[in-house]
Assembly symmetry: C3
Homo-oligomer: 443 residues x 3
């Protein structure tokens, strides 16, 4: 019955319980009088002894974009196709969840993303905290790349750089150990695949993922920091296997996609088509970043190699048994109002920038100028000779009126190309300007 | 990694942080000892200085309906079709969300509706509070009509009156300014369209929306109030545009639908079919209401004019380039137990009625008697000569055992008509009784 | 407008309200200074007078399974079909919700399950608390069976026993009264069907459900307890009824399905196909259980009889107007670390076992050894002569490191059969081992 609610045997009885003769079902159980501390903004409660904590968290990102391309997009390989929307609005992320610590060492999160018709889990895990590390089980990001590891609330531009966006792994169900030490970071995990929405005939594949980084020099007094890191990710692709159709495996499609630098207009400049017959693939990232007061630089190189299985069902093209993708980006940030990016050597990523003079304290908030060049190249994407490449230039301006609120403007010049023959001019090209805005807050 | 959690630089270190050498990642961060006030029912916490607030909110509406029509519904134009369910149950709204104020002036909500397989956002925005107004960005109602602006928790009947239900705009992503002054209300906004679930080839259209209202006379001492208001909404329809299929626009379908006065049985008396080739449309509302102690009256007239684009793809009928819909309703409410409706001149809508003698204080709760007549007429709905009209009579009885709990009963007589020729008798008619109940609470 | 937020007339004004001239819209309303008690782990707040309570709750269950069957599954009746995934991961349940009591006697919950693409409500109801019972309206479990009534957080194995899993009713929208007395339990309810995701032409059917149980002997001092119970459930099936296609009813498909004892790999050993033309069906359960300190036994017998309507549309087989399913299970539990199962006579189910020496207090947590035999038999399942049966043996080991955290291991031997002729050997058989793990926590 409805009474099938959690008993919590440690609590003493109260009047309602007394009324029902000590029936210990949750809705009528009392709240014992303990010392509890409460924070309002980013709501948290914790016991005085620090053994238990609970909080609610969320974020909302609302985007607008306008594409100035005179209807000449090229994300469809057919000559006369591919018209995109001219402008668009989107709720890019709308997350709501809970998090906490129980019994000193058990840390957890359960956060859901409602951004569109589909439900997506964000973090949904429990981790045991050791003295210098943590072991997590559940649904979370595979450890990979500086930009991918950094929270979407902390990235500088509206979207992550094109090669990271295209080739980085998703969140998956898995188990991972990561370090909790001051000056360097290491993580190792094993992950399943597509555990949330599944086809029951499909063996889902798995990945083995590792990332390590450290800070070659670091001077917190002078706000000088640096970062070097490397990541590697091997994934065995999911497959189906039906005796009735022969002994060969039929692999799931693999998608490596990036868009315009905004999702408010959905142009798929790389990865409009999925890749077939992929047996497994390995992705590497090399990471570097450095900061000097209000100025910082960040860059990564990403390389991916996919192997196709010649024995898989419907495999047609013996010439293309491996495919290679790569790309890199470099970006610069300068805080006009004197803030510094909050590099965290212990997790190899960026935390929230501390805004020095927020509007609510009579200041002008934080202002950040940004520039980025990103390029991604799929030498052969989903079929032989279908190369897809993109050069993506961005100028950005961020305004942080308060600690937890950001307004972002990105002006982007996008130069993309795809087609069978790069030399004879049979490829399709698109160069155009894209303007995007984001209004973001977290709680 | 999982450490990519929000840093909150203002907090001091605690034992867990100390344990990890001051690593400032959220789950291990402490809750500082500040003065916080807490409310349990409609859970809220706020700092003593009032700068920050946080709360959780939600509502649940469970409906049941029975249709006494001997299987003679007419929401399908084919002569022998259109049988509806005889009875049904439905979770009409199930919302859960968070809301708050941060840094004095930044107010926000993030609320999700789980009522069926689809996820829908309710309010999901942030607004800056000025001294006499607020500027909001995000997903919320376009300002339109007294009944549409009133929360679903505050409307008198189970569903809004037929013409409001049929012709009012949806919630959309947009930007809006509205006044915060005592005796009148004005709002102006610009909105995108269908930003949550989208087709990437579709340019989503936009709307410009305005509403104004004031209280011609008002005597709070004697519980006398009045309301006059007007709304206007222009919407440019979404379209697709593919070079390969010619230069003409292909417009998205437009839906203007109302049902039986309940959703527990889904009869689509107006708007079973969508309208095609609509370029844009304008909708107006005239609003009036008045209250004298426990008695109140409310009525609105709504008119909508749609323009079809003769140059759009698949446009076939040159005779029907414009279509007109209109309708009105009048409704009366009388509180047998002496309460008054809570008219709010500052927002041009209704707040929660204060229940005088709730059951938990030994009373009988609040009892409200209701009557409504509503009519809606689509002179030509989705194709030439397809007129659709409805006369909808409702008797209602509401019981509010407590402030936040309502039980509603509606007995409805529905007289609907649709068909090519109203004169020669080729139209289909349906007259029938519908009985509906709702159990509703909010938290 | 956005101001259509809940007024809460009882509160006094604060500075923000003052700023806006006493405008009583929610986001700017203050939190009065009342005495409130707060619990952090399983977050709750309540007023000192106990009239109001509020809490947030949730659970996360992450599963992994491996099937050792050499590709010989048999959940498809075609000879060469039915290959399942070899292994899989899944978020089995991810629930987040709120619960509370308002005005002393009104208890409510609103909890949503995000486990996959679909949204499912868990409990979503309000109940009025009488002195020795409660009347609930909303969405909750139909009262049926000891194992079905026990929360998924409290069951011993990863999944409920096969016959319970196959034949138990779902959560539905309904109204139910259940007792709140110390030593026995009774519940009676009426429920609709499929009120959340519906076809508007379908009259949804209804059920009448009852359950009763008591404790023949009970000695809490010596941790000895016993349980006897019985449940009955009659359901009239949903149907469609279109004049244009004749006067006969077309019934909705009925699904009675069980899987491998895990959902991480989805093998449908009973109920791969749905049943057609079912007019109504009745399901019975007989329940028994007993505990002696750390040792306990539990078993149930379930029988279901379905009647097919010979007059329904597309009814083809006059020989099979009734179908019978039945099954039973017995299971034993032994706590190596001395705990006892928390039997609750007042609700006829199991609450949380109190862990004696959790890891956080220097102990080894709770360790529980389990064994279960379950069998289910559909003598004729979805068509004449298609018998489906399963024998399901499970060995289990549970580790509870803390009160609210469980790690489960199940090793299962599954022996399933289906086919037209059991004697001549035309049936398909499958016997195989399945290994499954779960990591579960609640908050």
């Amino acid at each position: 019955g409805l009474l099938a609610a959690p008993a919590f045997a440690g609590d003493t009885a109260d009047e309602l319980e007394d009324r029902f003769g000590g029936l210990d079902y949750e809705p009528v159980m009392d709240v014992p009088d303990r010392d509890v501390r409460t924070r309002v903004n980013k709501f948290r409660v914790e016991t005085e002894d620090g053994r238990h904590r609970f909080g609610i968290r969320g974020r909302l990102m609302t985007d607008f974009a306008y594409v100035d391309d005179n209807y000449k997009t090229t994300d469809d390989e057919r000559a006369d196709r591919g018209d995109l929307a001219k402008y668009g609005t989107i709720i890019r992320r709308a997350r709501l969840g809970a998090l906490g610590i129980m019994y000193d060492n058990w840390e957890w999160q359960l956060e859901v993303d409602f951004r569109d018709d589909e439900i997506r889990f964000a973090n949904a895990y429990m981790a045991y905290l050791f003295d210098s590390g943590r072991l997590a089980v559940g649904h979370f990001k595979e450890p990979f790349s500086l930009e991918s590891s950094t929270s979407s609330r902390r990235i500088s531009f509206i979207e992550r750089a094109a090669p990271v966006d295209a080739y980085r792994p998703s969140r998956q169900i898995g188990i991972m150990y990561e370090t909790l030490v001051p000056n360097w970071y290491g993580a190792f995990g094993v992950f399943g695949g597509d555990g949330v929405a599944r086809d029951r005939d499909v063996t889902e594949g798995f990945s083995v993922a590792a990332r390590a980084s450290f800070a070659p020099f670091m001077d917190q007094q002078n706000r000088v920091w640096s970062h070097l890191g490397a990541s590697a990710n091997y994934r065995a692709n999911a497959y189906e296997y039906e005796r009735s159709r022969g002994r060969d495996r039929e692999y799931e499609s693999v998608r490596m996609r990036t868009r315009l630098g905004t999702r408010a207009v959905d142009g798929r400049l790389i990865g409009e088509n999925d890749m077939e017959n992929v047996e497994d693939y390995t992705t590497f990232a090399l990471e570097a970043a450095a900061g000097f007061g209000p100025f910082s630089l960040q860059g990564e190189y990403i390389r991916q190699r996919l192997s196709r299985d010649e024995d898989s069902r419907d495999f047609v093209d013996p010439d293309t048994t491996t495919m290679t993708h790569d790309g890199y980006y470099v970006q610069a940030s300068y805080f006009l109002t004197g803030e510094s990016r909050n590099y965290r050597a212990f997790s190899g990523d960026f935390g929230a920038t501390r805004i020095l003079r927020p509007v609510s304290e009579g200041g002008r908030g934080g202002w950040e100028l940004l520039a980025r060049y990103a390029t991604a190249d799929s030498y052969e994407h989903h079929e032989p000779d279908d190369r897809q490449s993109i050069d993506h230039y961005t100028l950005g301006l961020n305004w942080y009126p308060e600690q937890d609120i950001v307004l972002k403007f990105n002006a982007m010049y996008v130069n993309a190309e795809r087609g069978e023959d790069q030399i004879n001019g049979d490829s399709k090209k698109w160069d155009s300007w894209v303007y995007a805005m984001r209004f973001q807050f977290e709680f």
